[in-house]
Symmetry: C2
Subunit: 222 residues, 2 copies
DNA sequence: ACCTGAACACCGTTCAAGT
DNA sequence: ACCTGAACACCGTTCAAGT
């Protein structure tokens, strides 16, 4: 028999417990299962404490998204050029985002903190590969935006089933721009990332190499 | 006094009227104002007819999105290379998307038909500039995905105000990947499109020029 | 101070009942 | 056949009231 010397613990709802429960419901029932009432019920509490601990529903969703995005870790293989690292990071990050339930609803307001955290390993890799800070930040930002946008679009486009219309005699001669298969989508993403990295490489190569690692305050004429 | 010989017209709710009203509410009150009950009330009807005319709420939203996206017309200047046309199309299409109310909620399930319609002028321009059908479709598809994804991300990122945290001593040395200004966002989009068009140009130039305009059925060994 | 039951003001959706 | 009042089963949010 263990004696408890501490005063009988009052069960208080902690902020993190609310977010934990919301995430559990998200995985079990999807976005529509995440309800202030449902979270409160599972915690054995009335909905009121949620409003004092995490704020209203949009704040809860934001906290859930921030937590899930913040947990994403992209481990880069140490070797390779910065272009290879960048491409690898983007593909891995896409896979991680695609693993989130109802991701297109979660990614609508991604938090800046989570993005900073997710891109941190890439940023380090880029810098030790020789990019200066501004260049590295630019690469990270572009890859993040591309990947996030792509995942949202492809997650929304995943409802093309059961929509088989009879051939339309008025259809344009240009052919259909839809009806993409999964492998076509993967190719599209790979090409988009490749093109972006190529473009960024040209930018880096054509910038004054070796100088400007720190913004130098030269003589100005103002 | 006009005599009406036709039998007294019964006011029937047409599908298009429902969508019209939903769009009006969307512009007046935003996405949250578009409600089955509100649409029905404005039409002077009970909600029931909506379900028989357009289906449930998600079908209504889909119809609204399809209509608004379908109304987007991107007129291209006749001149220029196909690369210039492509870039111009992307920038104009982005502007059109950004003009939609609550666009990040509307673009989640964009319909294939609307995309085909929106890209039709570009597709024609690309073809008369010499691209074959497959190439033109690829260009259209990539530009559409990039632009749609970008607009969703930038619309969601437009909530960075009022989030000014005190400088965090634990913040990474890599610098912040957030806190983007509008002109930085515009530059990011321009660069992304430029890089994509550049990459597509390399693909087109390195493909066997002049042949394969139509898929030729050669002898196969199957 | 913190939590609760209960309520307010909505939702989407569907029922039996009318005409 | 088509529309209605009314209801069902939920929401997010907040109130006065308890301890």
């Amino acid at each position: 028999m263990t004696t408890r010397q501490q005063p009988a613990m009052r069960v208080v709802v902690h902020r993190d417990a609310v977010i934990d429960t919301a995430i559990a419901l998200l995985y079990e029932q999807g976005f529509k299962g995440v309800t202030m009432r449902a979270v409160a019920y599972r915690l054995g509490v009335s909905p009121i404490p949620l409003y004092s601990k995490v704020g209203d529903k949009s704040a809860l969703i934001e906290a859930v998204a921030e937590r899930l995005l913040g947990e994403i870790e992209v481990n880069l293989g140490a070797g390779g050029t910065w272009m290879e690292q960048a491409e690898q990071w983007a593909h891995t990050y896409r896979d991680r985002l695609k693993a989130l339930p109802d991701r297109h609803l979660l990614l609508n307001n991604q938090s800046r903190d989570a993005l900073v955290r997710a891109t941190r390993p890439l940023l380090g890799g880029l810098r030790s590969a020789g990019l200066d800070r501004e260049q590295a930040v630019r690469v990270c930002r572009m890859l993040t935006w591309i990947t996030t946008g792509f995942v949202i679009v492809e997650s929304g486009a995943a409802k093309l089933e059961a929509h088989f219309e009879p051939a339309d005699p008025l259809s344009p001669a240009g052919g259909r721009a839809d009806g993409v298969t999964q492998s076509e989508i993967d190719d599209l993403f790979a090409a988009q990332i490749r093109f972006a990295v190529d473009g960024l490489r040209h930018e880096v190569e054509s910038s004054p190499a070796g100088i400007g690692l720190e913004p130098q305050e030269g003589p100005t004429f103002s």
